[in-house]
Subunit: 352 residues, 2 copies
């Protein structure tokens, strides 16, 4: 069974049971309220069997270990990045989604008309709604794109719509102005012939095959090769995001500067790829907390990413972005659930 959480793995200290309990309570409380957590409030709210003075001693110890900080002398405690990391690695109870929620989301996917762009959009909006964070969903990236079917549909005299179906069921289309003007019947025959000869071929093979063709056929083959090559590269602008309103609502982004940078990052599809996680295994979830993120605008944010896909080379990523004060259990549960859903869909499309 793969390690469920990946990401940085700094050396984490060993804690006594009571310290673990208190750390967990602090993080839970801070996630819920966004306010520094006071010793007295902990005792009251979590019915701890010790006094607030004892809790204060433990809090000081946890701060010594780097798991908590203070904004100022007379404020309560706030988790550090390391504190969150500890929480995720060894304190968090993996609360999955409610069965009811799971049913609702699955149901929506089933109704989504089996259109892959629709699935991506739905995944983004489901994740955003489930987690109340911003979500990011990429299409399937990488792997070999091979041709399953090609068709040239006449639009005007010399203009055809090229429709290429890829293995995996993705459909790419492109309008093409031809040098010569084949009849509809010729076009149909050409589509059938090219489908027969190029079926299963990868972009390089198809590009090479273009030399065997002349005129319209050559044009079409070149275009098909390019469409497939692009599909293989995964087009950066096909990334979907949703839930910007959720992060606007977070109190830590009230001021407005930080948040603008984050939204800019989400909207700039060319920069989005910098945000994707290193390769992770199926069903594994990657978490990057605060300063663990390379990108400066995300230094007060956390990412939770999962992957979906069928093979080991054809993967897409789905994830959420939010403040470091994030409900990690829920985010991880949601990412994992939606990821599995997407993987199932891919498997169905690719034929088990």
């Amino acid at each position: 069974m793969p390690k469920p959480i990946s990401g940085l793995h700094p050396a984490l200290p060993a804690l006594a049971d009571r310290q673990r309990e208190i750390l967990r309570a602090v993080i839970r409380e801070f996630i819920a309220t966004a306010q520094p957590v006071a010793s007295g409030a902990l005792v009251r709210r979590y019915r701890l069997p010790v006094s607030s003075a004892t809790v204060r001693n433990e809090l000081a110890a946890l701060e010594e270990l780097g798991l908590l900080t203070h904004p100022h002398t007379s404020a309560g405690r706030v988790p550090t990045d390391l504190g969150y990391r500890f929480f995720i690695e060894s304190l968090m109870s993996g609360a999955a989604l409610q069965p009811q929620e799971q049913v609702t989301v699955s149901h929506q996917f089933q109704q989504a008309h089996q259109d892959s762009a629709e699935w991506l959009r739905l995944a983004a909006s489901s994740l955003a709604r489930l987690t109340a964070e911003a979500s990011i969903v990429t299409p399937l990236i990488g792997g070999r794109s091979t041709l399953k079917h090609v068709e040239a549909v006449p639009i005007q005299e010399r203009r055809v719509l090229l429709v290429a179906v890829l293995d995996g069921g993705a459909v790419r289309q492109q309008l093409l102005d031809l040098e010569d003007a084949p009849t509809p019947d010729e076009l149909r025959a050409l589509g059938a012939r090219l489908t027969a000869t190029l079926r299963g071929a990868d972009p390089a093979t198809i590009a090479a095959a273009a030399h065997m063709e002349r005129g319209a056929a050559a044009q079409i083959v070149v275009a098909v090769a390019r469409l497939l090559a692009e599909a293989e590269a995964g087009r950066a602008h096909d990334v979907y995001y949703d839930g910007i309103q959720n992060i606007l609502a977070q109190p830590e982004f009230g001021k407005g500067r930080r948040i603008r940078e984050m939204v800019a990052l989400l909207e700039d599809r060319t920069r989005l790829s910098e945000l994707l996680p290193p390769p992770i295994r199926e069903d594994e979830v990657y978490v990057a907390i605060g300063m663990e993120n390379r990108l400066e605008p995300l230094h007060e944010c956390s990412l939770v990413f999962g992957r979906y896909g069928a093979g080991s080379h054809v993967v897409g990523y789905i994830g959420v972005v939010g403040p470091t004060r994030m409900d990690y259990a829920r985010s991880i549960g949601a990412v994992r659930f939606v990821g599995r859903l997407m993987s199932d869909l891919v498997r169905v499309v690719e034929g088990n």
Copy 2:
């Protein structure tokens, strides 16, 4: 020639030349600085040939007419919604986009692979970039969707990918599990036959034709009818938006409450349709200023919408949303330019 600007047309007062000049200067200045405009600053900045006291008298008169206000006694003047309306109707010099900008945007569209979803996305991002506002772009809505070509591509034994090309070049796809298991050759023949018999038919006709078919063919015909019907309805979730970061940067949205409602409106595709303008003519631009908007969250915003399309029944909308303090000349110019570009593309795809 159609009226270029549509929207509410309240009775607008007649103004003396100097008042017009001063009103124009106030609005220009406020659009540029977002600060209430003082009489002294106007004289200095716009080299008015009168003293600040005279300007103050005129400002008081303009305020009397409802075209300006002040936030408090000792603050400069701020345009009212009516003031902006007056500006747009009779003061604004229609500054179009720079030739350089026009070339850049046209060029991007030409490189966009002739894929209609790509065009929509590009239109949204171009508008956002040109205007520094948030943009909204809908696909073509309404009109009759007729079939141009249909193909069933085998994916697995009983599973096919249905690809329907519509008049206008839109491509719809759907995965379909068939009752029986036709051979690839049978599927190809079926596609050719259905294309021949159903070409040019509308959804209702196609749905009726389903009764003439049996088994897989009937299933396919039903699915095609539904795909076309959906295309005709225009799917609400196909709306694209971009440039949220731009409105986050506006000083009037600093506080964060208003802006959240606006972003929520943009992200909720089901509510987006409430935002679309009443029917407007080609090349006409619709402007709604502040309280003229029905939707409460937009009471401090303005919309500038244009339409694109080929006929009078097949239209799509493109527009920008920003604070009432918006560079209307630029927004209107950008919306009109991108709208024309989109219309041209539609005409090309539909075959002149």
